[in-house]
């Protein structure tokens, strides 16, 4: 990593993940062994996990573990950001040990992108006009990435905001689907999310943030090459 990190203990330069020296075994993704294509993994949800936060939630979906803390409404730190509509600030961070390869402590572009997506998702869900001149801080920490991180984060954030008694238009949930050679896999695990299929076949992931009762999609994030008919089927 370029530059010296003055604030932290640093390791030797040029350290590499030992997995590059390991023989990669080919994972057979033809068929799901533990569940059907449209079945979700076992989920565990709990609110009120952080004692000092106004609202908090912890979600565990398969191996993916995400914790969300909500602070607010509180005073806007910079006077220049004054606005009559409340401000949402959303930060997402992967723990260094959350992924197969160690992540740095500083936020990289993927984390910033996911944070912005989550924020846009919430802009239409939270009734910000009820919180003028204040800001609501949402901190998302991913403790382990086992696939479907953004979807889990969206669900946990919805629950944490409800736990913080912040007014929203509707219940917010997140879900994701992986399209792989014509198969639609609900709630993909990490292997299914990143698997590559041959060129010429469709391969991609779609994550949506969904408002339950009003049946509206507030966030759509897709990666990969997908035809429009596949997108339609997946959204349904």
């Amino acid at each position: 990593m370029p530059g010296v990190d003055l604030y932290r203990n640093t390791g030797p330069e040029g350290s590499v993940d030992y997995k590059i020296y390991q023989e990669k075994e080919d994972k057979n993704l033809e068929k799901r062994t533990d569940r059907k294509d449209h079945e979700l993994r076992k989920m565990f949800l709990k609110t009120g996990v952080i004692s000092h936060a106004k609202g908090s939630a912890f979600i565990e979906v398969g191996d993916t573990k995400v914790e969300v803390g909500v602070y607010g409404p509180r005073e806007i730190p910079k006077r220049s950001d004054f606005s009559m509509k409340g401000i949402l600030s959303c930060e997402m961070k992967f723990a260094p040990f959350a992924c197969s390869t160690r992540r740095g402590h500083q936020r990289d572009s993927e984390e910033i992108e996911l944070g912005l997506l989550l924020k846009e998702c919430l802009e239409s869900t939270v009734r910000m006009n009820l919180y003028p001149k204040s800001c609501i801080d949402i901190f998302v920490t991913v403790l382990e990435d086992g696939g479907g991180v953004l979807a889990a984060a969206i669900t946990a954030t919805g629950m944490a905001l409800a736990d913080a008694q912040i007014d929203m238009y509707d219940n917010l949930v997140g879900s994701c689907i992986s399209v792989n050679q014509g198969r639609f896999l609900a709630d993909p695990s990490l292997d299914e999310e990143v698997s590559c299929s041959d060129a010429g076949h469709e391969q991609g992931n779609i994550t949506i943030g969904y408002l339950n009762t009003s049946e509206q999609v507030v966030c759509l994030f897709s990666q990969g090459v997908l035809s429009s008919t596949s997108m339609d089927t997946a959204l349904n």
Binding site: R8, T10, K93, A95, C99, R102, E144, G146
Partner: protein, 281 residues
């Protein structure tokens, strides 16, 4: 009805005069949450929770929650120590854990805690760096130890050290096969446990000077920590050797106080030790 009003008044007293509220409790030998001065909060340890990390632990001490994840990487050993591996501890206090922390570079407390963990590992010599070098001069293990606080309710030092120890004991190293002729290395999934020579335990006491005597309070919560005159931490091994001690704060401690603090710490450490050993079985 009288109980209701009594409780209401005590809550008002707590918010208007928190110092007095706390000190009155300590004079009477109890604490606001009902514990006695020598009682620890319930401690829960669990290990190997995070499958992406090579070693992990979660510690919950009352409300204080700490996660420790260890990632292994390979690097060329330093020229001055060609047969030693590296241990890189870091503590992060994300803004999620407490309203006192804002996003940005590590706060002063986080930096101090990172240095504390590193000093504990060095002073206790609980890890033999020579055992972390499978191929001298070429490849050495780097243990990236990342401790993350999820909920800050006081006494982070004890929780961090407990998490560190549990995670180190859960760590498994794969086997490194080195081909000298071809100068290639291959990592095979044959796991061996890390050799942890000593189990390090920390005990933090908050000191309140009331009426000339110093009252020692074990395992302070965040509220108690903020109002204490000083904080004493003793880091001991399972053989009751003191390897590190730290005091932050403004009170002057007499020799008797320090002696009683040390003996109190070793007694408390035994409780944490049983919990750490149990987590591994």
């Amino acid at each position: 009805l009288i109980h209701f009003y009594k409780r209401k008044m005590s809550l008002e007293f707590r918010s208007l005069q928190p110092d007095q509220y706390l000190r009155k409790h300590i004079e009477a030998g109890v604490r606001p949450d009902g514990r006695s001065l020598n009682e620890r909060r319930p401690l829960t340890l669990s290990s190997a929770n995070i499958s992406t990390a090579d070693g992990s632990a979660v510690v919950k001490q009352g409300n204080t929650t700490v996660v420790c994840g260890i990632k292994l990487e390979l690097a060329k050993p330093a020229a001055e120590n060609p047969d030693q591996g590296f241990v890189v501890p870091n503590v992060s206090l994300p803004p999620m854990c407490s309203p006192n922390f804002k996003p940005g570079p590590p706060s002063v407390q986080a930096q101090a805690l990172s240095t504390f963990i590193r000093d504990c590992l060095d002073a206790s010599q609980c890890l033999d760096l020579g055992s972390l070098c499978p191929v001298p001069h070429k490849y050495a293990w780097v243990l990236y130890i990342d401790l993350m606080c999820l909920d800050h309710d006081g006494n982070l030092r004890d929780a961090l050290i407990a998490a560190l120890m549990t995670a180190l004991r859960s760590l498994k190293l794969p086997k490194v096969l080195y081909d000298e002729e071809m100068d290639t290395v291959q990592v095979v999934e044959e796991w061996s446990k890390l050799d942890v020579k000593r189990i390090v335990l920390s005990n933090t006491l908050a000191v309140y000077s009331l009426g000339g005597t110093a009252n020692l309070v074990v395992d302070p919560t965040a509220e108690e920590e903020d109002r204490a005159d000083s904080l004493l931490t003793f880091v001991t091994t399972e053989k009751e050797e003191v390897c590190l001690s730290q005091e932050t704060g403004s009170s002057c401690l007499s020799e008797e106080t320090i002696q009683s603090a040390i003996s109190l710490s070793t007694k408390q450490a035994k409780q944490i030790l049983t919990a750490v050993l149990k987590a591994q079985s």
